[in-house]
């Protein structure tokens, strides 16, 4: 188990929205990936987008803005966007 690093995590109400984010994230050049939703965040077994945000508060804020921008541009409904060490 590697050392936990900060990630911006976007969670979704449906698997469909998560899979849409997978495509959109790649298309918009995000560095993250779709992965099972962190157990700390949800009792569900769906997916979440994990965007690396290592490098301090400014980097985290920029990563969060980038994720939100993709969500908005693609009309994808997210349940939450949070910062988490994973």
């Amino acid at each position: 188990m590697g050392k936990a690093t900060p990630h911006v995590v976007a969670t979704f109400y449906t698997t469909t929205a998560a899979l849409a984010m997978q495509k959109a994230g790649v298309r918009h050049g995000l560095r993250g990936r779709l992965a099972p939703i962190p157990r700390q965040l949800s009792a569900g077994c769906g997916f979440a987008w994990r965007e690396p945000a290592e490098g301090g508060a400014e980097v985290a804020s920029a990563a969060a803005d980038a994720v939100r921008a993709v969500l908005e541009a693609e009309g994808i409904e997210a349940e939450g966007v949070v910062l988490l060490d994973l």
Partner: protein, 387 residues
């Protein structure tokens, strides 16, 4: 809880659940059926006289334990969340068809793994169908399948199924109202208190580890993540050891308890379960765990499975177990009768129709603008997500 966020922890959870399964098998549950969501819901339906197949009637404490174990741990760890509203009637149908498929195969995915661990090659054949079913479901997800999101509802609503099951268990233990088989699988069971305690633990662990046979494979297909398969691997290892140690391991197609070698129907039965499970967001076991943590949609799926079990035995849809010839009776090949074959094929067609009918374009599926959801960068504000 760290145990549930690390790979080693998830494998350990699988080992612990596997020990629970071994205890249930040792204490008297039917052969290669230590814990089976489909078979035990079927037995419960029989005990409630929803069907009258004499060998499969018993109010299984394990079902109560799974749901209530999930409920208690979810409440204790503040993960209980009463939700509803994600295409409930469609989920009822999915539960119904999953149960028909499982009873044609003679087991849910959990029993499939238990049978595989006992050397039952028919279960390995069934695994092919299950994998194909999950893969088909994953394709629908990639094309935009969704039953819609769940919404928060009255807190008490999510507790109804756990409470009903507790009441049923009390009636079962304290009275003779419910039917109990005198012969057959329904007559074989661990002592009720032991069964309840083991199932409570398994239910709690399954809730915390998010154990789901279908989602484990779905994640492997969709995001190449194998983490959710670890608990299943843990269970399998323990059950192999248990079966080897007790002399129950027998690598063969023939002579397996409560099984048949109709390969096509084993494959199609579990194909329906795999596909239905991905569309419903969880395998039969997972549906009970979801129901326990407050999902009314999970509870509706459970009811679909209960009614499906009743139909399966009232109308001769379930597969028959193969049996060797005796002095009095001829050998039985087992498998589903024509009615079961027909209904299963129709069920698969219905699943495909449900899959196609609920494919949505992403832009249209987003019912609210993304900007409306702009939560702060604070993990404490993240609410649990629906499937």
């Amino acid at each position: 809880m760290d145990l549930f966020t690390q790979k080693k922890g998830l494998a350990l959870v699988g080992l612990i659940v596997g020990v629970g399964l071994a205890i249930l098998a040792f204490l008297g549950n039917p052969s290669n059926m230590a814990l089976c969501a489909a078979c035990f819901i079927r037995d419960m339906a029989g005990s409630l006289k929803l069907h009258t197949a004499a060998p499969v009637q018993y109010f299984r404490p394990e079902i109560v334990g799974l749901v209530v174990g999930s409920f208690l741990i979810a409440v204790a760890t503040r993960e209980y969340r009463s939700t509803a509203g994600s295409s409930p009637m469609t989920r009822f149908v999915l539960g119904f068809i999953m149960m028909i498929g499982a009873l044609v195969f003679l087991g849910c995915p959990l029993r499939m793994v238990i049978r595989m661990a006992a050397g039952d090659l028919n279960a390995w054949v069934g695994l092919v169908g299950f994998v194909l079913g999950v893969a088909t479901g994953a394709l629908f997800l990639k094309r935009g399948f969704s039953l819609g999101r769940e919404y928060d509802t009255n807190k008490a609503a999510g507790a109804v199924l756990p409470l009903l099951l507790i009441v049923g268990l009390v009636i079962s233990v304290a009275t003779t109202v419910f039917v109990v088989s005198e012969t057959g699988p329904g007559s074989k069971h661990a002592p009720w208190l032991a069964a309840l305690v083991v199932a409570l633990v398994v239910g709690a662990l399954a809730q915390k580890a998010r154990i789901c046979f279908a989602s484990g494979l779905r994640n492997a297909f969709l995001v190449r993540d194998f983490e959710m398969l670890l608990p299943i691997a843990g269970m399998f290892v323990v059950m192999v050891i248990y079966n080897l140690a007790t002399g129950n391991f027998k690598l063969s197609f023939d002579g397996q308890p409560i099984a048949h070698s109709q390969h096509l129907w084993n494959i199609l039965g579990l194909y329906a379960v795999g596909l239905g499970a991905v569309l419903a967001g969880g395998c039969p076991l997972r549906q009970m765990i979801l129901a326990g943590q407050g999902s009314c949609d999970g509870a509706v799926t459970f009811l679909g499975m209960l009614v499906g079990a009743a139909f399966a035995h009232n109308f001769g849809l379930a597969g028959a177990a193969a049996a060797a010839a005796t002095a009095e009776t001829a050998a039985v090949a087992g498998g589903p009768a024509f009615a079961g074959q027909l209904v299963l094929v129709c069920g698969i067609v219905v699943l495909l129709v449900i899959g196609a009918a609920n494919v949505r374009r992403q832009k249209a599926a987003a019912s609210a603008p993304a900007a409306a959801k702009a939560p702060a960068l604070d993990a404490d504000e993240a609410a649990p997500a629906a499937n």
